[in-house]
Structures are given as structure tokens and as C-alpha cells.
Subunit: 336 residues, 2 copies
């Protein structure tokens, strides 16, 4: 096992989220309907549902995932210094998650729990249109609480990045709020990803309050941002969010992204992709690219370009984390 | 968990081998050298070595593997009826192996052991030339013994297919010999894959004896067959093997395959591949294609063609099992 001695030094980003191993499998639209899933979204399932659903699933490929974990992996691939906080169990999937995130140089020291539910897994059904439909059994992730948020780590990070999915559990939400409070107390930035339109539905009021009062950099896709403000048009949501937080980076799939920061607005085209294979991790990698640029002093349009390049890489293959060195990809496309 | 009630009915093939989950990761030639591995071969490692090596490995993708298990998956993808015998533990990797093989319709009833070492894993390093270098921790596989060979299952199968790797352990070798004896007693065919040139080196004399006396269909690549007969030229090995067993299907990577059966000889070109990505499972899928044809009355040249198509599919992507329906691929290329 990799050394877990306390580390020091400035971090670009600290990512906090659910520590999840993904089980990826190809399926068809009929199966999505038959199993009662809503394509393109994430549903929380319990252990029994996970077993029943897995029994209906084709052979899978297992790979480390989790929204904020994927973002940490993207940041590492961009040579940004980053750390991850999230909880696994001391089981085989936990070993896989821990190995994968440490082996790319992400600082990860949350101890594995030694009892209770197993490491979280997400059963991901990929349809021929490259959409992913996710079913998450949170397992050991539910053990993440405020005591896991290390103040020193938050203080060392320019940005503390939080996935919206944490809001689904009271303990994790407390961890989330503690991380945000510590970041503010240390004059550091707080970033939030809205994660999923259903997640926004479940927590709209508290998300609105949190975005207004605590978020410096918000990430959301079109469905999420229109759900947050309960509007039907993207542009309406845009006008709302401009009032609400310092920087909002809004992704629109093949239409690219829009970044608003007060009076500053950038509309940036998507990076070209030969063939979209699996959209799992697209938003996570956009956030990685964007934050990698932002924490190294790039202008907002460049941050969005880097985010777009990182997202384009991950949707061209199966799996939620980069398969090439993103720093090289960015250097080849945008220069050093 | 899938139903494990006894099944009945004719099987095309019963595959017997080590039940292994693969951990696949990209690497470079320098790392292969630095870690003291011999490119393109398989080494057996113990639990401690597995941990040390895993710590040096890049992030991995986990997927069900094992030579005979991969062949069973290929046969299922070709709509052949097949079964698998091999041992996992009752752990997460064991669940993954069991789920994956059953979900494609392979009959698999070997009970998971409830104590002892964990499910076997194979750490596979893929170099840019698409070669795979394998390090196998046999784990729970070592619990496979002669008592696991179900006579009824052998009697139902036209061919019992055995991976040479089983020869590495006395208990598994006994299982292997029992399966071969039961097949002969039931007037069924026995097939052997030589698996690896080092495996052949370790067991040359007993392999020679077994091939001469018990094998109806032998699979080997060029390195393995020249090692078996301790000759330097492929053609020399060919002359030897013609005397030794009823059918020998010899694979030569991009040079295609040669099938000999007494006076009958076929030299069959390899199926074209756009880009070779990962050769893991190439031999296993060739065997699947060949046996699928043979057990459905196809002539030997057609069997070799089907084998070549199955091998070409698996080397075009990462992972040792087919990602498309091989039966469709064969129908498109060779007709129904």
C-alpha cells in the first residue's frame, strides 16, 4: 500500500465526494425502460436493489469512479496537485479505488472503514447513443462525515471542490458544509458541481441557498441549471446564476460551454470528438480542466477550453477517467 | 445470484481452468524491464509479490479473465452451449467473475470457497506494441481439485477443453487428468491449450506424454509448439505434432494459423485488424472460434477462419473477452 504519511505543500484542488467503483456495461434502450431507469440520470439504490440489478446486467468492466474522484484523476493527469477525501471499506473494491487514485499521485488519506457496508459501487448502463444511466449503491461512502474533513488539507488547497451528490446524506452534507466553512475561514475558494438534475430536484432550496452564499465556482449542465432555477430556458437560468455566484461554468454537451463571472461572459465551442462512446465522466473532466486552468492563473475562456478538451478525451472511450496524459493533450492543442 | 440448479442437455464445450479477474493497465517497455518481467509471457506470483507489483502499477481496469474462462465467454458469444469449471472465493472479485460468466449464459456451478486465499487475479501490463505481460496470483484457484470435475458435465460435452496452466499445480493437474479420463470413458473429445512457452518448459515431458496419448485437439502458438518439441523451426514442430495428435491448430499471430489433422493440412490467413490494441485473450478466442465450428460440423479450414475472426475482434480492444456478438461477426464474414 502506498505511503499515507501526512503531506504538505500547496494544492491546486481538494476534491470531496463519494468513493465509488464503477461497473460499466453496454445495454440497449429497451432494457433501460424495462428496468424502470431514467436514461442519463443517477438513481440511489440499496444493497438488495444493487444485487437484483447486477443480476440483470451484462458482463461488466470495473474501474474507479465517483464524480469528485474522477475530477481528482483528471487534475492529476493535468499535472495539478490535488487531494481527495472520500470513504471506502477495507475490501477488494476499496483496495482498487485506493490503488488507482494514489497511483496517479492524488493525495488520499481517508482511512478505510473496517466494518459495515462494502465499498460503494455504481452500476452504469451505457446505451448505443453513448449515454450513461447510473445506479449507485453508496455502501461505505455513507460513513463520510464532518470529522473526515482535514482542516490542514482544506487550508492547503486553492479550491475545495464538492460534488452535489454528497447532499443526499445528512452526515456527508455536514462534511460538505464543514469543508466549505473551513475554506472560507482560510480565504480559499469553494466550488460545487450540481451533479444531476434529480439531485437538484431533491435539494433545490438548500442548493439555492448554498450557491448564493458560499459557492465561488459553480459547475452545472443545462438540465441541472434549469432545474435549479425552475426555468425552461437555458438563457433564463444564465441570467439567474450571474447574480448568484462569482463564476459559473455551464456545460451544454456538443454545444460547448458558457462561463459567466459578473459582467464577463464566454461562449466556448466543444472540442471535436470522432465518435462519442460513453459520456460517463464528461462533466467531471470538464471541471478538472477548468479548475486546473483557473488555479494556475489562466483566463476564464482558456479554462473552459481546457475543460472541453478533457471532456472530449473521456467521452471517446469507455470509463470515467482519462486514458491519455491530459497535460500533453492540452499542450498539443493550446500550447504550454 | 444466478440460479445454480443442475442443468441438462448437450454442451458443445466444457472449459476447465483457473478462475481469474484481470487487472489491465498500460505501461512502457522500460517498466517491463525494470520490474524484471519477460514481455509476452505469464509469471506466477505469490500474494506478497502481487501486492508489491500492484503498488507499482498504473490505474487499472478490472475484468473477468482466465484462459479457459475467456474461451467459454467466446463460445457463448458464438451461441455455442458451454460450461466452465474453476474456483473463486466468496469475495467481491469472485462475485464479479461469477456474474460475468453466468450473465452470458455459460453454465458455471463450481461453489466459491469460503476460506483461504482470495479470488485469483492477473496483473497484466500492456505495452504500446499491444503485447501483454501477465503476473498471476492464483489465490483461490489453487483449491480446484479432481472432486470439482463433474462426470455428468463432462459426459454432456462434445469437447472438454483444458488450459495448460492447470498443470502448474498437482491438485489441478489431477482435476485435469480426471476430466480427460472421463471424457475418454464417455467417448468425448479432449482438447488442450499449451497456454505459454514457460508453462511448456516447466512441464515438457509430461505434456508430450499427455498430447501423444490423450489429446484430440491441441492448440498452441509458435513459441509453445517449438518449445514442446525443442526445435527451432515452426515447420519442424509441425512435422512432429502431425504424428502426435488427431488435430493440431497452431496460431502464428499476424501470419494466421496452420491446422494439421493427419494428411489434412490448412494454412489460413489472419483476419485483418485495423489497429492491434491488446493481444490479451487472442489464443483463447481463437480456440473458442475453432471449437465452436468443430462442434457444429464445420470443416477444419472454416474452423480456423472462425477462430481468426474471434481473435481479431479481441485484439482490437483492451480486455480478453469479446465486446461484440461474435456470432454476428461470423455471420457477416462467413455467412450463417
Amino acid at each position: 500500500m502506498t505511503d499515507t504519511a501526512p503531506q504538505t505543500g500547496e494544492l491546486n484542488v481538494l476534491c470531496v465526494g463519494n468513493a465509488i467503483v464503477d461497473v460499466l456495461s453496454q445495454t440497449d434502450d429497451a432494457t433501460i425502460d424495462e428496468l424502470g431507469m431514467v436514461k442519463g440520470t443517477m438513481a440511489l439504490i440499496d444493497a438488495e436493489q444493487a444485487e437484483a440489478l447486477y443480476a440483470r446486467m451484462s458482463p461488466g468492466v470495473e474501474t474507479s469512479g465517483g464524480s469528485a474522484g474522477n475530477t481528482a484523476a483528471g487534475l492529476a493527469s493535468l499535472d495539478a496537485k490535488c487531494a481527495f477525501i472520500g470513504r471506502v471499506r477495507d475490501d477488494q473494491l476499496g483496495d482498487i479505488f485506493t490503488h488507482d487514485i494514489r497511483s496517479i499521485g492524488v493525495e488520499y488519506a481517508t482511512p478505510a472503514v473496517t466494518s459495515g457496508p462494502p465499498t460503494a459501487r455504481c452500476l452504469i448502463f451505457i446505451t448505443p447513443d453513448a449515454q450513461r444511466t447510473m445506479n449507485t449503491f453508496l455502501g461505505a461512502s455513507v460513513n463520510l462525515g464532518p470529522e473526515d474533513i482535514d482542516e490542514d488539507m482544506v487550508a492547503r488547497a486553492q479550491v475545495t471542490y464538492l460534488e452535489g451528490y454528497l447532499w443526499d446524506r445528512d452526515e456527508a452534507k455536514e462534511a460538505f458544509l464543514r469543508a466549505a466553512a473551513l475554506a472560507a475561514a482560510n480565504s480559499r475558494m469553494v466550488s460545487l458541481s450540481l451533479s444531476d438534475p434529480f439531485c437538484v430536484d431533491r435539494h433545490r432550496d438548500s442548493f439555492r441557498e448554498f450557491v448564493s452564499n458560499h459557492v465561488d465556482i459553480l459547475f452545472a449542465n443545462e438540465d441541472e441549471i434549469t432545474s435549479l432555477y425552475q426555468v425552461s430556458e437555458f438563457d433564463e437560468a444564465l441570467q439567474h446564476v450571474r447574480q448568484d455566484c462569482r463564476i459559473a461554468a455551464l456545460t451544454r454537451s456538443e454545444k460547448g460551454s458558457v462561463v459567466v463571472a459578473g459582467d464577463e461572459v464566454h461562449v466556448v465551442d466543444a472540442a471535436p470528438v470522432d465518435k462519442v462512446v460513453d459520456t460517463t465522466g464528461a462533466g467531471d473532466q470538464f471541471a478538472a480542466g477548468f479548475l486546473s486552468g483557473l488555479t494556475r492563473g489562466k483566463d476564464l475562456a482558456t479554462c473552459a477550453h481546457i475543460g472541453g478538451l478533457a471532456a472530449a478525451e473521456v467521452i471517446a472511450h469507455v470509463g470515467p477517467r482519462p486514458q491519455v496524459k491530459l497535460a500533453d493533450l492540452v499542450a498539443a492543442n493550446l500550447g504550454g
